[in-house]
């Protein structure tokens, strides 16, 4: 009996009963069929594109685009190339996503913490917010903000005037333009110096606390430095700033910065929608911290606010961060819904207008997908680094 058990196969016969052999055969079959599929599609696509006169190269990249984009953060005009249009789209996507992430995080944390409030009505209002917002499609919310709220504002001639030369109408929010004169750079330098001072003071305060056990009023000193120093310099050099108030000329306002309704609707929609998911993540993260931690903090005499800030949130963050990252990624991906309301993001400009003008579907889609994949990759790498940095250190 033991002989049978111990007898290892001295030579491996290539038999279909061997799981390893079968594994290799399965994989070869899969590889062959995938390869056949890929080659078939490639050949067919190439011949279809040739038959329809669609360019197979990336030559369109340097051709003049010939269309205008109303909201750009980088220089662009109708003479620019398709390549520049692509970068406008990328920058716009990143811009609205970053702003959306900041707003959604703030709103989400507020709502999530409000859901756990001992105050009955506060927690119920927060819970209703979450339940209503996350059960309605984002697209519907975007269309609502854009068509039913922002586009329903009065026309430029009947603008709502807000104090400080700000106008609100169905073309957007128009705020005075800031013009800088000589000396404005000094104010910037003062701000920089104040920031450096704050960092230094923060280090000093921490060492002082470690040595003496006394807390220095770090927040107030920092605020005073950050606001006071630039303000003092600003007044010293004689207010090197003027505001150009927008004026109604013809059908629209001239002068001043314009916040477009497309951008505003997208930003509001993305932030409000994602915040409802972040709130749930924050709530479950905080609830996952054992109750004993709160009780111990209270027993040590920490006030509820400090308990939350110094004891609960740092521990909850470990649980919150990974799902939070995936919400950030979702927000970035959802910013592609811009195409429905006409905000010039990557999909609207590149996969929309450029694709329609050049017909180069394969190239354009490949580039677009790569951009989103790259964003996903960078974000998950950043989060992995963060997780490693803040993981619980065990023996």
């Amino acid at each position: 009996m033991s002989d049978v058990l111990l007898a290892a196969p001295s030579r491996r016969s290539l038999s279909l009963h061997d799981a390893k052999v079968r594994g290799i055969i399965y994989q070869l079959l899969l590889a062959a069929s995938l390869l056949a599929l890929a080659v078939g599609i490639a050949v067919q696509t190439a011949s279809n594109m040739r038959a329809r006169g669609i360019p197979l190269s990336f030559g369109f990249w340097n051709e003049a685009a010939g269309f205008d984009i109303n909201q750009t953060l980088i220089p662009y005009d109708t003479l620019s190339t398709y390549g520049q249009a692509f970068w406008v789209g990328v920058v716009n996507t990143l811009y609205v996503s970053l702003l959306g992430i900041v707003l959604a995080t703030i709103l989400g944390f507020v709502v999530g913490i409000a859901r756990l409030s001992p105050n009955w009505i506060v927690s119920k209002v927060a819970a209703s917010y979450v339940e209503i917002i996350r059960n309605i499609p984002l697209l519907l919310q975007l269309l609502f903000w854009y068509n039913a709220v922002l586009k329903a504002l009065p026309a430029p001639r009947a603008s709502i005037e807000l104090p400080g030369g700000i106008y609100l109408n169905n073309r957007g929010l128009i705020i005075p333009e800031i013009q800088l004169y000589a000396g404005a750079g000094t104010v910037g330098l003062a701000f920089l110096a104040a920031s450096i001072f704050c960092v230094a003071f923060w280090f000093y305060a921490r060492r002082a606390q470690n040595r003496t056990g006394k807390q220095l009023p770090g927040l107030w000193v920092s605020l005073a430095a950050l606001i006071g120093l630039p303000l003092a310099v600003f007044l010293l050099v004689g207010s090197p700033v003027s505001f150009v108030t927008p004026e109604l000329k013809g059908f629209n306002y001239r002068g001043g910065h314009q916040l477009y309704p497309e951008f505003a609707a997208l930003l509001i929609g993305l932030s409000v929608y994602t915040a409802s998911f972040i709130a749930e993540i924050v709530r479950s993260g905080i609830q996952a911290v054992p109750k004993g931690q709160t009780e111990a903090a209270h027993a040590l005499g920490l006030a509820p606010g400090k308990t939350l800030r110094l004891v609960i949130v740092p521990q909850a963050l470990r649980i919150i961060i990974p799902p939070l990252t995936s919400q950030y990624l979702n927000l970035t991906k959802n910013s592609s819904l811009a195409v429905f309301i006409g905000y010039p993001d990557l999909v609207q400009v590149f996969a929309g207008t450029v694709l329609n003008q050049t017909g180069a579907a394969v190239q354009v889609m490949a580039i677009t997908l790569s951009v989103y994949l790259a964003i996903s990759l960078v974000m998950s790498m950043a989060m992995n680094a963060f997780n490693q940095r803040f993981a619980i250190v065990e023996r």
Binding site: I121, V122, F340, T368
Partner: protein
């Protein structure tokens, strides 16, 4: 070991009924208010602010949707009333919002298809229903065929063929979601199994597919399906314009399903796999009879929430020119015959309510399932 104990029982047989809490502790409404609404001055301020906010929002909603709304009449009444919702607009457009341009005489086919689907889904989701595996078989295998025959029509069965251009409204939304779940769940199971496979190439293929699909927005997948799929195949095989987004939605949600199923596979104790292997059960039998039934049961809440996401994502098919429910609302609200101050808001309110009822209902089901599963694990 067996047999009766010689000692009289130490514990009295009938348990005493639980006593009511002493009256001093029982919270009176005043105590409740003090504890839950005005425990600190700050809490009191919050209570007042939030009560005012909630009351204002509720008042806005009720006065728009009910009190100031136009309930009967037509365009003139709605145009004259800039304050409230215009429900006659919804009433007139109701059929369009449900069926799109599907021929009126054939709409019973849509109703029948949806009714069959509803019965099957209820059978699948009802926890105490008998023979749920039959329901699964019918839903995932027979139903797609029946639905195709009924909705599109087969001339030889005396069901005139209805071109997909005419399909629209809630029909499209439900069709997209049902096709999405019917195809994405089996595909997702396969992908999840592939991702946990011991064969490196199979694993790599599945990981790449899942991660790439999850890394890109649904809109780009729809664009790809719409613009690139016709290039991939010879002209005579070009997929129907409705079929392209259907393929896109099935592939897209299968990647998300795969991750949900994988979580379930990982939650099954290793002993289950080892016991099956020790009994000499083959891989597929093991998966079919031992692992998947357990894994799929514990991820039902995850499947339902993925389905909610899928249901909400169907709104995006409008970008490739499919008239789903939301697109139908958009088309209806810009109808010049009904141009009025509150038509847009009414349309969005109605659409929001419809989507909300579907999604909220499903999430409630998922939560109750989650609680039931948690109970099952504790006992």
């Amino acid at each position: 070991m067996s047999g009766q104990s010689l000692h009289p029982p130490l514990v009295g047989a009938p348990l005493l009924p639980p006593m009511a809490p002493p009256s001093g502790i029982r919270p009176s409404p005043a105590t409740w208010i003090r504890k839950n609404l005005f425990s600190t001055p700050f809490s009191g301020v919050l209570t007042i602010c939030f009560t005012v906010l909630a009351a204002w929002l509720l008042h806005q909603f009720v006065s728009f949707a009910v009190l100031d709304a136009v309930w009967a009449g037509g365009q003139e009444q709605c145009r004259a009333n800039p304050e409230g919702a215009c429900w006659p607009f919804i009433v007139e457009k109701f059929d369009y919002l449900r069926y799109g341009a599907y021929p009126v005489s054939e709409r019973w086919r849509v109703d029948l298809t949806l009714a069959i689907g509803a019965v099957l889904i209820a059978w699948l989701l009802w926890k105490r229903a008998p023979r749920r595996n039959v329901a699964a078989l019918l839903f995932f295998v027979a139903y797609p065929v029946v639905a195709f025959v009924l909705l599109r029509g087969v001339a030889s069965l005396d069901l005139p063929v209805i071109d997909t251009v005419l399909w629209g409204g809630l029909l499209i939304t439900l069709l997209m979601s049902i096709v999405g779940i019917v195809f994405s769940l089996p595909l997702g199971v396969l992908l999840a199994l592939g991702r946990r496979s011991e064969l490196p190439f199979v694993r790599a293929v599945c990981v790449i597919f899942i991660e790439v699909v999850r890394g890109v927005p649904f809109i780009t997948v729809l664009f790809m399906a719409n613009f690139m799929m016709p290039l991939f195949v010879p002209d005579y095989l070009t997929p129907d314009r409705l079929l392209r987004p259907l393929i896109a939605i099935a592939l897209f949600s299968s990647a998300y399903m795969a991750e949900v199923v994988r979580a379930g596979l990982q939650a099954i104790p290793k002993g289950q796999y080892e016991a099956a292997k020790a009994l000499g059960v083959s891989y597929f039998t093991m998966m079919r009879l031992i692992i998947l039934p357990q894994a799929l049961t514990i991820v039902i809440p995850g499947i339902v929430s993925t389905f909610i996401g899928l249901f909400k994502d169907t709104t995006l098919v409008a970008i490739v020119g499919i008239a789903d429910f939301l697109r139908a609302v958009e088309t209806a609200r810009v109808d010049p015959n009904w141009a009025g101050p509150t038509i847009s808001s009414t349309g969005y309110l109605f659409a929001g309510l419809v989507y909300w009822i579907f999604c909220f209902g499903m999430s409630r089901y998922s939560q109750s399932m989650e609680r039931a599963l948690a109970r099952g694990h504790k006992s």
